[in-house]
């Protein structure tokens, strides 16, 4: 099979067994790889009567069609049932782990069962070893990776959990290659529930064959040249995502004080200030011509970390933010959900709900609360369950909990871009800023003219705009199936050319959007089977209340109205279910609801 080895390993930790699952070409044709393939493979393994943290609940690590073969493809996907949302969970991560899997002669790993005692898997060129992880349990992520590299092979690539995953914090992440993370939806807790500390992979077999190697090389070279001459490359390399803090602030996109204020000292926590104040080192992923990752004072930093642990908590001391981000990376906490949950507690203190609680701007309290979340002590134990659950425990109106379907809202305020509000309520994994990252269209960072997706007024809620969002959301679904970086220097035309060269058939941008539509619908069907209803597709009031000051200009998205239009365009009925006609059109009739 072109672009794939055609096999995924299924590992059962209960009886230490391994079996090969053949990946049929038909499945690749329909779902491409990565998260799409994961949804298809796990469709019958995830159900409402298998709780996410039970031993039968599966977790899968997958590569995509492009992994290792194209620029921007140094990523892997992790999928399963989210313990945070109880719905479909997926997250991708950069680094070298994905390419190592692909080079080890397999396309992915599905893990079921629970080991009796802590273990880690060492997969050397497709052969699985179960190793004792007793001495690793309790260790942070960097130390874990260092020890495993000593015990196995220094060339092995490691993905692991920290103490947060071990203690089943509902938004624990999985860290690989030190400080790269599959951050969202709490899949680190799934690993913890299985007593699985880490997976180490040594890949020396090589990448799979492709149909048209000559064209693939040619397109690879063309894209490298295009990227090299793009002025954005230098900015990405210099600042990475950190550059967005001041740009987002201007439009009201960067939130502060638990989404309640639109004016704050953004420059204090900007990429520019970090570059001036600290030693900053660049760090890239496999197959990347940009190298946008940044270690600031030794800590891997991104825009989402700065905003969630900084401005959202009213903290503008960069040293504190760096300490908090470092702690999250080492303990294995998703920075977004961590920041939102701590900020929620600060907000409740301000509202008088929490007596003597933690206050906005208190950096010491931020760090202490993060530690208590990981240790599950006191208030931390309540916050470890996520914002929605904490609101229920505190007896607070759920409209005050900044989440959608249980997943905390990321650092793109839905009052800054109408289509981000629609994206948050309709995304398969809850409040997701990547599927689609529509704000990149409206600031002209990454429009998709090939599919007619162009920048318009950022507050527009018209049917024409929603049509563009649907197309964009579908196309971006496939980014997690190829698995490509989201930073926008590879166009959908480029992706179509690579796809065509790999499989030896002509693929167009429209074909990609159709594959994405199918993938989106399959994930929706999984969510419906897990109990999702239309009522769950809503934006809480905390992020709908108009802000008096700042770049959102008092805008409040009318999500209900947009959702009605969205459902009609997508072929979804009033209950939120795909219509029979749509399922036939998308060739999804083999997947029953």
């Amino acid at each position: 099979m072109m672009g794939f080895h055609g096999k995924v390993l299924e590992v059962n930790l209960k009886n230490s067994s391994v079996r090969e699952i053949e990946i049929k070409e038909e499945l690749i044709r329909k779902f491409v790889g990565g998260c799409g393939l994961g949804a298809a493979l796990l469709y019958n393994k995830i159900s409402s009567n298998i709780p996410p943290l039970s031993s039968e609940s599966p977790i899968a690590f997958l590569t995509g069609m492009f992994t290792g073969l194209t620029p921007f493809s140094g990523r892997h996907a992790v999928v399963g049932r989210s313990p945070l949302t109880n719905l479909w969970g997926e997250s991708t991560s950069g680094g070298f782990f994905g390419v190592a899997i692909k080079k080890s002669g397999i396309d992915g790993i599905i893990i079921t069962g629970k080991a009796e005692k802590p273990v880690y898997l060492y997969i050397a060129n497709g052969e699985v070893e179960f190793r004792n992880a007793k001495e690793l349990w309790g260790k942070n992520t960097s130390e874990t990776i260092e020890i495993i590299n000593k015990e196995t092979d220094k060339k092995a690539r490691v993905a692991c959990i920290g103490p947060a995953g071990e203690n089943l914090v509902k938004y624990a992440c999985i860290v690989n290659d030190t400080h790269r993370a599959a951050g969202r939806t709490g899949l680190g807790a799934l690993m913890g529930s299985k007593n699985l500390k880490a997976i180490a992979v040594l890949g020396e077999i090589g990448l799979p064959d492709v149909a048209d190697e000559k064209s693939l090389k040619e397109y690879y070279g063309e894209l490298l040249e295009k990227v090299a001459s793009n002025p954005a490359r230098e900015l990405w390399h210099t600042y990475g995502t950190l550059m967005y803090t001041t740009q987002g602030y201007e439009l009201g996109d960067t939130p502060s004080k638990y989404f309640t204020e639109g004016v704050f000292p953004a420059f204090k926590i900007s990429g520019e200030t970090m570059l001036e104040k600290y030693e900053v080192k660049s760090e890239g992923c496999a197959n990347c011509p940009v190298i946008c990752g940044h270690r600031v004072r030794g800590v891997k930093m991104e825009y989402e970390s700065v905003s969630s642990l900084g401005s959202l908590c009213g903290v503008y001391d960069l040293d504190v933010i760096l300490d908090a981000a470092n702690y999250c990376n080492e303990a294995g906490l998703d920075v977004i959900s961590s920041g939102v949950t701590v900020a929620f507690a600060m907000y409740l203190t301000e509202k008088g709900v929490l007596k003597d609680g933690i206050k906005f701007g208190d950096g010491k309290a931020l760090l202490e609360t993060l530690r208590n979340i990981v240790k599950r002590e006191g208030l931390g134990n309540i916050l470890a369950e996520g914002t929605r659950s904490a609101a229920k425990t505190f007896g607070v109106d759920l409209e005050e909990a900044a989440n959608v379907k249980g997943l905390e809202i990321p650092m793109h305020d839905p009052r800054a871009f109408s289509m981000m509000a629609l994206t948050y309520v309709t995304s398969s994994r809850g409040a997701c800023h990547l599927h689609s990252d529509y704000f990149t269209v409206d600031i002209a960072a990454a429009p998709v003219p090939e599919l007619g997706v162009l920048p318009t007024n950022r507050f527009d809620e018209s049917e024409d705009k929603i049509k563009m969002q649907v197309i964009h959301q579908s196309a971006k679904e496939v980014w997690n199936s190829y698995i490509l970086c989201m930073l926008g220097l590879i166009s959908i035309n480029d992706a179509a050319k690579f796809h065509s060269a790999i499989i030896g058939e002509s693929i167009t941008p429209t074909d990609i959007a159709k594959i994405g539509e199918r993938t989106y619908m399959l994930k929706r069907m999984i969510n419906i089977r897990l109990g999702m209803r239309r009522e769950d597709e809503k934006l809480p009031q905390i992020v709908r209340r108009p802000l008096k000051k700042g770049g959102t200009k008092g805008y409040s998205p009318n999500v209900e109205k947009m959702l009605d239009i969205y459902y009609k365009i997508r072929g979804i009925d009033e209950k939120g279910h795909p219509t029979k006609e749509k399922l036939e059109e998308l060739d999804l009739k083999d997947f029953s609801l």
């Binding site: 002025p231 954005a232 900015l235 990405w236 600042y239 995502t241 550059m243 967005y244 803090t245 001041t246 740009q247 987002g248 201007e250 439009l251 996109d253 420059f267 900007s270 520019e272 991104e302 825009y303 989402e304 650092m411 793109h412 990252d437 704000f439 990149t440 409206d442 600031i443 002209a444 960072a445 990454a446 920048p455 318009t456 007024n457 950022r458 507050f459 989201m486 930073l487 926008g488 200009k553």
Partner: protein, 91 residues
């Protein structure tokens, strides 16, 4: 007429400090977007138009990104807001 200007783009840091990025300019009626850009260059004493023509910096006119090359001769009106941003996303 008064036009509000926000020079937020990262590329402008060498010509204007962040804390000075927001100001108003006075323009004659019927002035165009290009007139505004030239007035800004005069005010800050630095060239910025080439960033717009190359597309490295985007211009947001009242909540909508405009194509500078295509719309530079469009007339502005009193209280319009022009935000100059670096069009790159943020994680």
């Amino acid at each position: 007429m008064k036009i509000k200007i926000l020079l937020s783009a990262l590329q402008f840091r060498n010509v204007i400090a962040y804390e000075n990025r927001c100001f108003y300019i006075d323009l004659d009626d019927q002035s165009t977007i290009k007139d505004a850009v030239l007035a800004i260059e005069n005010k800050i004493g630095g060239k910025i138009e080439h960033y717009l023509t190359r597309g490295d910096v985007k211009l947001i006119l009242n909540d909508r990104v405009i194509d500078y090359k295509e719309e530079m001769l469009k007339n502005l009106k009193d209280e319009d807001v022009l935000i100059f941003i670096t069009p790159l996303s943020g994680g």
